[in-house]
Amino acid sequence: MITIQYLVQQAINAISIGSLYALMAIGLAMVFGILRLINFAHGDLIMVGSYTALLLLVIGLPFWVAALGGITASTVVGLIMERVAYRPIRGAPDVAMLLTSFAVTIFLENTAIILFHPTSRPFPAPPILSSVITLGPFRFAILDLIAIVVAGILLILLTLFVTRTEVGISMRAASQDLLAAQLMGINVNRVIAYAFAIGSMLAGVVGLLWSARVGKVDPLMGFYPVLKAFVASVIGGLGNLPGAVLGGYVLGILEILLQGLLPANLTPFRDAFVFAVLIILLLFRPNGILGTTEREKI
């Protein structure tokens, strides 16, 4: 039965998931824009943040401390990743950078497996987060609303950052023309560090929201999110920040739509359809919805 109630609730669901994808995709887009690096290890930053938060919760610290701790951990690991694995290979062909990010993923995931055991552990989020709020005929999960609000605030802050601060504008400049940015005296190392730091911080936030949502953490939890974030990024146009945001929400809506529209026996194939859409998009509009059609310069 498709009622208004159902539609609105599903819409909130879609926007909430879309928010998470959007936040993830921004991190990927920032780094890709400047370095042409597809950082698959970005997903593991979710895992790092979540496990750190878990540890802090387990030793009895209040949730907000654990949350801050988790976000900080993601940011730090992200910066270390850049310095150790990606800076030495700057300027290498795109393929080498992509493969290195795979190597980093395997490193992080296996380290987590060794430290924390391959099985999942429950994530004890405060009960208020799992509750449901009733507004008239509608029932919403608090977590969905929080996700939407948090994402909204972060996006506004981010927009201010890239349009009003020198570092933010430098970041946009560097992602458009790295050589020209260098010639202007933009400190490329610093800009790249900022890109990783912000992206990793956002990943940390997503990690908390995600863990609270599914109620558990496991070493491989970042795998699907980064794939989805990646699809979102491509949908909006690789390297394009507004595109990443748009792509995230489009993907969220697409997933919920497919979930609802596909006949029951085909719903497990939902992810396959999502990737099929990705491939079709790459064929006809490789630069995504918001990307400009780039002609290769000879």
């Binding site: 020198e166 504008i169 430098s170 458009q176 050589l179 202007m184 005296g185 490329v188």
Partner: protein
């Protein structure tokens, strides 16, 4: 001020610059001429620190820049206005200019310099909040020069500012170059358009396949038969 001694630059195994000797004194306008592929852009990129010479010395006011990073070189005031403009298309005109000023630690002069470049190029002042990509070729060149000026250059290097522009715009650009020269800015001008370059430059070098084959005051080069034949289309009359 700037001195290149016996500079050799390689791209992998291919030698792009062979034993380049070049100097620029303060306040001069020096032209570096040559056809496509002669190595003019390579020379500028080497001075800017993007490329590293395999041999030779690069000194600036006594500082040895041979192993310096691009960041350090820009900090010294050596600013390049690159080939093809390379403005930041997705940024507004104002943001492009702000990026030009990034290297300046003291922010006091930035605002007045912003006004100065808008006086120099009124069209930029009109389009301050438009995206760089929406500007015409000539306007983008003006933006590129303005952006470089925002860095308050001690040595301004311009790579083919006239490339791809209509003759009317080209003379506008060269008027500006001359004006800057008169204001005392030291300029290294790389050009294929030898005629215009020789009219504004004090001294010129001619680069052919990575080697300096001719150098001297512009008045001499202008009447040099080789230059006349190959680069000025027959006669300078």
């Amino acid at each position: 001020m700037l001195l290149l001694e016996n500079i050799d630059v390689f791209y992998d195994q291919v030698q792009a610059l062979k034993c380049i000797n070049l100097e620029i004194q303060e306040g001069e306008l020096v032209a570096l001429l040559g056809s496509n592929g002669a190595g003019k852009t390579t020379t500028l990129m080497t001075i800017s620190g993007i490329l590293r010479p395999r041999d030779g010395n690069l000194t600036y006011n006594g500082y040895d820049l041979t192993r310096a990073s691009p960041l350090g070189i820009v900090q010294l005031g050596i600013i390049q206005c690159p080939e093809g403009r390379r403005i930041f298309g997705g940024l507004s005109v104002l943001e492009n200019l702000q990026m030009g000023a990034v290297r300046r630690k003291e922010r006091s002069g930035v605002k007045s310099d912003l006004e100065m470049v808008c006086e120099l190029f009124p069209v930029l002042g009109q389009r301050l909040h438009q995206n760089g990509a929406t500007l015409s070729g000539g306007e983008q060149q003006m933006l590129a020069i303005a952006r470089a000026l925002m860095a308050k250059p001690q040595l301004l290097m311009m790579d083919e500012p006239s490339l791809g522009l209509a003759p009317l715009i080209v003379s506008e650009i060269f008027k500006v170059i001359l004006k800057l020269h008169q204001q005392g800015v030291t300029i290294l001008l790389v050009e294929q358009n030898a005629r215009q370059a020789l009219l504004v430059a004090d001294r010129s070098y001619l680069l052919e396949t990575g080697k300096i084959v001719l150098s001297g005051p512009s008045s001499e080069l202008r009447v040099n038969p080789k230059v006349e034949h190959f680069y000025l289309g027959g006669s300078t009359a």
